[in-house]
Symmetry: C2
Subunit: 373 residues, 2 copies
């Protein structure tokens, strides 16, 4: 049998092959509206509602490092990143199932902290954890979360339905998560440098993360923007397209344009950058814009609105208009600070900006990393 390395065809090549095989099963289900290819699968639930479903796998040393991640935060994040996918459909979460595989180095208390984090986050989002599976693990901790949600049919938001003339909006602030990761990785290195022979950390070592707390919190404890979904409901707004920002603004706007068969222009000077992200970027002599564009894990919502719906958001500080959907031939363009037009489709990803000396970022180039198919 031929042995083709996965790295030869890359993550998207692999996902394409997997999707082609898995999609052969879609005809089994009359009520399937949309399977592989959005933040969630969309299923007919009743005459008036769709059910949406999403799943994520979190793996130690690929998605998190226990040295810099408190268990309770990790539990909350595992729930939040899935709820964020539900929000991206303009849906509300209803229930979750959670599986974990545990290595021997974890204590009962650590597992309890993990579940407290999940349980508290679930309560915050109004969803029930209804079941799961536990297993031993030969390697590190593995967490698998599946969340099911629901949405009225006329309100579901897909990636594929943006139209030229729609305005492009983003919730909250960007770049914080990646800035937080940079700080944590620096601290991790200091912590390891200060390890004594018995495995404990030298008592003179003091973590220096207080000045960057917003950024660190954003990385360790991101919140799904369910409040934005509720804001839409209150104001009678239905986004024409929506996606959550898990991989970075550049990647997400390209997804919307590709699926909607449109172009877009977004303006760098309108990006809402977290102020702590700017401080961190200054310290590392980098650009906070690149954190926003390629850093990922901010879990804000990127969405498009008809001009009429956009007017209903005028009084909201927490949403910024950053651009406009254009016809496909226009390209996916960023207007930078110097009014230069940069075609984001020709910039191939974060590797342009990665610091090769930073271990954490090696993960960003691993195929398959946190990609739904």
């Amino acid at each position: 049998m031929t042995f083709t390395k996965i790295s030869e065809i890359g993550e998207f090549g692999l996902i394409e092959k997997i999707s082609a095989i898995a999609s052969q099963t879609e005809s089994q289900m009359n009520s399937l509206k949309k399977g592989i290819g959005d933040d969630c699968a969309i299923l007919e639930f009743s005459d008036t509602e769709y059910q949406v479903v999403t799943t994520d796998l979190l793996i130690e040393q690929i998605h998190f490092d226990l040295l810099t991640t408190p268990m309770e935060h990790l539990g909350a994040k595992a729930i939040s990143v899935n709820v964020s996918d539900i929000c991206a459909m303009n849906a509300l979460p209803t229930y979750a199932v959670v599986s974990i595989a545990l290595s021997e180095k974890l204590s009962v208390e650590m597992v309890e902290s993990l579940y407290k984090g999940m349980s508290n986050a679930a309560k915050e989002y109004g969803l029930a954890i209804v079941g799961g599976d536990t297993s031993a693990s030969t390697a590190g901790l593995v967490i698998s979360v599946t969340i099911v949600g629901k949405v009225k049919k006329e309100k579901v938001a897909r990636r594929s339905t943006a139209k030229p003339g729609d305005v492009v909006c983003v919730s909250g602030v960007l770049g914080g998560s990646h800035a937080g990761l940079k700080v944590l990785m620096r601290e991790r290195k200091l912590m390891l440098d200060n390890l004594k022979e018995d495995g404990s950390v030298d008592e003179n070592y003091r973590p220096e993360i207080a000045d960057y707390q917003d950024a660190v919190s954003r990385h360790l404890l991101p919140k799904a923007r369910l409040d934005i979904v509720r804001l839409f409901e209150r104001r009678g707004i239905v986004p024409t397209a929506m996606i959550d920002i898990s991989d970075g603004l550049a990647s997400e706007i390209k997804h919307i344009c590709k699926e909607s068969k449109t172009g877009a222009i977004i303006e760098e000077n309108k990006f809402p950058i977290m102020s702590h992200a700017r401080h961190v970027a200054d310290e590392f002599e980098e650009e906070a814009t690149t954190y926003a564009l390629y850093g990922g894990e901010d879990y804000e919502l990127l969405f498009t609105l008809s001009p009429e719906d956009a007017e209903k958001l005028q009084e909201t500080d927490d949403v910024k208009i950053i651009g406009e959907i254009k016809p496909e031939a226009y390209g996916v363009v960023m207007l930078d600070m110097f009014a230069r037009e940069i075609d984001l489709r020709k910039v191939t990803g974060y590797q342009h900006f990665a610091q090769p000396s930073d271990e954490s970022e090696a993960d960003e180039d691993v195929w398959g990393e946190d990609d739904d198919f």
Copy 2:
């Protein structure tokens, strides 16, 4: 912080702690009928139907060994074991989400085989794979499957609703999966003994599994008994309680009795033992009955019927009556070949029967191994 080893409180202790925390979220969902503690969680779907959901995590070296497991079989098994949980609720599967984490030693072709196995199994059971997640893995292959099904409200089968006087039935034949595992482990050892320096297997080595094909197939490629659920439908039968046999007959009958607050008597001479399981047990100088009682992974259905419903099954060869539900005080009793009454609650599990020299069986004692909570 205190560090309590997970092994100190054991798998059930851990699951109890996790369940206590997770169940705090159940009040978030009005439509939740039954969360943690059955084969599936049960959720209100419509006036007439419940939705049921189950999830399983399969981890390399804990649940399978790639040396003895073809990828396509592994894919099919990952689907089948979850469909089996859906069947145990007397429900039909509708859709699945699948996540995988892949290590670098896997090829594109192997991943395609895995998905072909899943896709073919899904088609056989009439369910759609609607989405998933892929990730790199620092350790071995990880597969997480979540399956959602549905069932008419008046037909749902729980573990907790057996009544004294009900007959205890089992589908198909038992003991085959464990017998198949024994054969595969013996072959695995031979294969490793015949490995040459370049990593290939010596050309004089011939696997000797043809004589045990039924048992090996049962282990590698178990089928969920959806045909039994359909048989119930055709004959107007509703089991008073049901569970799938993933851990062995002894464990499953104890689950039904514990949840239903009943006792039971089952008769060894009525157990339907697979004939290949008997051959294998003879060769290993063991008892095929212990494979059926404690071997697990047969994925047959154990269920209880009212005497009236039992009559409707008279002409079915593929279901055997093996005992009767009794009041709780009676105990959970097995009447053995010598008419001795053995209280199954006092026999604590497979470790009584394990061969310490057999690596594969070390897994059976690992806490948390394939336990839904």
